[in-house]
């Protein structure tokens, strides 16, 4: 089975086509018409590597569900071909990333690879998949390198880079009148990159970083750091925390009574999809993100309703990124009418795609990273509401990418 699917078209398709057209290999791949031989149509293999257990379980589930929803809307066909999924739990564990990616690429011979959530898993995955591997779509992992030094023609990202999570924060806070700021973040690759990007825009705009407080990842004992924060007396604090850590941080921050004197800001994960868990503690917290629940565009409203109906839970940015990953794969496959052998043509269709995403307009940079509007949001009555657009068509510098 796996052998047969290697190039996307079965040997039988090829032979039949060959006898009809007596075309060469290259020509055959273009000539296979989409509705050709229904029933004998080879399945497209989509490998999914997302976390379904642990801290990031919800993120992984939402990404997958939204992507499957997009495929279902398209009749569960990619360029006319039915889909076969190979779905693996990454557990968001970097140590397992290489082995699992290898399984998808070498043993399962997937045509598309979708994943992961965790940046460090993403690094291992992209190192194996780039250039010669399957077409890879990253629906979350934000490490700058993935579309920077590790960029490749077959690697796309529908989420964000760390840079896009930090850079728009600087001017937004200056505009809100906060000039003395403390940076707090989980001390691993992604957190450090967000902090660095924030500094890059904040300091030249006249802001002062009083102190950086990196805290060990993924620990959630913030009490000692909050005491330090209180003693520093900044105007505001810019943070990166996600998932369970974000819930704990926001609650601890409020419980320590700091909300009265220090304004809490952060990369959007701080409050994204966590309203129910954070409750009142999150009220008034401002974050930077390329999505907000309340975005008033018809695509978003339709998407949110459909996602709620399909899964029973509310859509969030992760679902949006998964939905767009599905859309991007559809664009590629439809452009080549299901012929995965026409790789260059498919990549061209994907990189030039302009998508009406629930987040607004989405297109891709030369390094295949999203270009999208980034919003400043505030939690009002448990909902992330747009305050204003913080950065129009925010791009990523793609440092180190040569492609």
């Amino acid at each position: 089975m796996s052998e047969k699917n290697r190039k996307g078209i079965t040997r039988r398709d090829f032979i039949v086509q060959g006898t009809v057209a007596t075309a060469g290999l290259a020509a055959a791949s273009i000539l296979v018409p989409a509705p050709f031989a229904i029933g004998a149509q080879a399945k497209v293999k989509v490998g999914i590597l997302l976390p379904y257990t642990g801290t990031y379980a919800k993120l992984g589930t939402n990404i997958r569900d939204a992507m499957l929803m997009r495929f279902a809307e398209a009749g569960n066909k990619l360029g006319g071909r039915p889909i076969e999924f190979v779905d693996i739990d990454s557990e968001a564990k970097p140590a397992k990333a290489q082995q699992l990616t290898e399984k998808l690429i070498k043993r399962e011979n997937v045509d598309f690879l979708v994943g992961p959530v965790h940046s460090v898993v993403g690094m291992a995955m992209v190192k194996m998949a780039r250039v010669s591997g399957p077409i890879t779509v990253i629906p979350n992992a934000g490490a700058d390198q993935l579309t920077g030094a590790l960029c490749a023609p077959n690697v796309f990202r529908t989420s964000f880079s760390s840079y896009q999570m930090g850079y728009p924060g600087g001017p937004a806070m200056i505009e809100d009148g906060h000039k003395r700021v403390v940076l707090m973040y989980w001390n691993y690759g992604f957190g450090k990159q967000v902090a660095a990007a924030f500094k890059k825009s904040f300091v030249p705009a006249g802001g002062t970083i009083i102190k950086e407080i990196p805290t060990p990842f993924p620990k959630v004992d913030f009490q000692a750091y909050l005491t330090e924060l209180a003693a520093l007396k900044p105007d505001a604090v810019y943070t990166f925390y996600a998932g369970g850590g974000a819930v704990k941080f926001v609650k601890d921050f409020a419980a320590a009574g700091l909300k009265k004197s220090i304004k809490l800001y952060g990369a959007g994960f701080l409050t994204e999809g966590l309203g129910a868990a954070q409750g009142d503690a999150a009220e008034g917290v401002r974050t930077i993100l390329h999505y907000a629940d309340s975005l008033e565009n018809p695509v978003n409203q339709r998407f949110r309703a459909a996602f709620k109906a399909a899964t029973g839970s509310n859509a969030d940015v992760y679902a949006v990124q998964g939905y767009d990953a599905g859309e991007l794969i559809l664009r590629g496959m439809n452009a080549v009418k299901g012929d995965t052998g026409a790789r260059a043509e498919m990549i061209r269709a994907m990189e030039t795609a302009e998508i009406d995403s629930p987040r607004g307009k989405l297109r891709f940079s030369a390094s295949h990273n999203p270009i999208h509007d980034v919003y400043l949001r505030e939690v009002v009555k448990g909902e992330n509401r747009v305050v204003r657009v913080a950065a129009k068509a925010q791009d990523d510098p793609a440092t180190g990418c040569s492609m």
């Binding site: 379904y52 257990t53 642990g54 801290t55 379980a57 919800k58 992984g60 589930t61 407080i213 990196p214 805290t215 060990p216 993924p218 620990k219 959630v220 004992d221 009490q223 000692a224 750091y225 909050l226 005491t227 330090e228 209180a230 003693a231 007396k233 998932g243 369970g244 819930v247 704990k248 609650k251 601890d252 419980a255 320590a256 009574g257 700091l258 009265k260 004197s261 220090i262 999809g273 966590l274 129910a276 868990a277 954070q278 409750g279 839970s313």
Partner: protein, 289 residues
């Protein structure tokens, strides 16, 4: 930084120590006294937190949730002991490690099936929702003080039961010489089943109390598992007093480590453990075996 800053940090350290003791107390009961290595300890902590979330949601009261949740946790502990752990008392520790590791996977899966993958929060009960001002811009949540009080109560209670009651005497005797105690006509199987269930209930209770200040999420148990073992090992196996002192030491070292040596914060605790084990290989209050 002023003196008040260090005083608040001291408070943080002691409070963190109490929380650690609460989490590790169930472990020391089983690991220290019964000699069972239970890697699923964190899972029971998670079960407690999810029970608190689920029952609070259902009944509308956090207190009722604890009241209902504890018997459930005891029951879970009893079932696990009867149908799994009890077969391994005579076996090597490696078997226990394998079995309890498997239990982690089972509980994680059960948690996903029962409660899904959302991150949840539990609202702090009204009566403890206030806070006490500490400095000009920082205040201290009353609920954290309540946790500390609960820890002290549990520490005293455990000490009393183990050291002063007939039950405690049987537990200690059963741990040091199982056959002899059995020969004296005490049903060791029932005794151990009870102690194990109690340990599970303690872990779950810790999870319940922590639920309102922490968040309730998949995999939360794994975060407390390792630190619990560190506490028990530092304190010396089998000593409630040792566990208490160990928890306090870790609370202090970890809190002040974060403040004074932020780059080293994540390894300070393990460095402390290494130093203590070099100095006293059985832990601070451990008996030489």
């Amino acid at each position: 930084m002023e003196l008040s800053f260090y005083l608040v940090q001291l408070l943080n350290a002691v409070q963190y120590g109490f929380l650690l003791f609460l989490v590790a107390s169930g472990l020391t009961l089983r690991f220290g006294i019964m000699g069972i290595i239970n890697l699923a300890h964190g899972s029971f902590y998670m079960v407690g937190a999810y029970l608190a979330y689920w029952l609070t949601d259902l009944t509308g009261s956090f207190w009722l949730a604890i009241l209902l949740g504890l018997p459930i946790a005891l029951g879970v502990g009893y079932l696990v002991e009867r149908f799994a752990i009890s077969f391994l008392y005579q076996r090597d520790h490696l078997y226990q490690v394998l079995l309890t590791f498997a239990l982690i996977l089972v509980f994680n899966e059960l948690q996903q099936i029962l409660w899904g993958t959302d991150v949840h929060g539990v609202v702090i009960p009204e009566i403890l929702a206030g806070s006490i001002p500490l400095t000009d811009n920082q205040s201290y949540p009353v609920y954290r003080l309540f946790i500390s009080a609960a820890c002290i109560a549990i520490a005293c209670g455990m000490y009393w039961v183990i050291q002063k009651t007939r039950l405690g005497m049987m537990i200690r005797a059963g741990a040091s010489n199982r056959e002899m105690v059995q020969a004296l006509g005490i049903d060791v199987n029932r005794l151990f089943a009870f102690v194990f269930s109690l340990g599970v209930a303690l872990a779950a209770f810790a999870g319940m109390l922590a639920a309102p200040v922490d968040s309730v999420y998949p995999g939360m148990g794994e975060n407390v598992l390792i630190i619990s073992f560190v506490v028990v090992v530092i304190g010396g196996t089998g000593s409630i007093k040792g566990t208490f002192v160990g928890a306090m030491l870790i609370g202090l070292v970890s809190t002040f480590g974060k403040v004074l040596l932020p780059e080293m914060a994540s390894i300070m605790v393990y460095a402390l453990m290494a130093i203590i084990l070099l100095w006293r290989p059985h832990g601070l209050f451990g008996r030489a075996v």
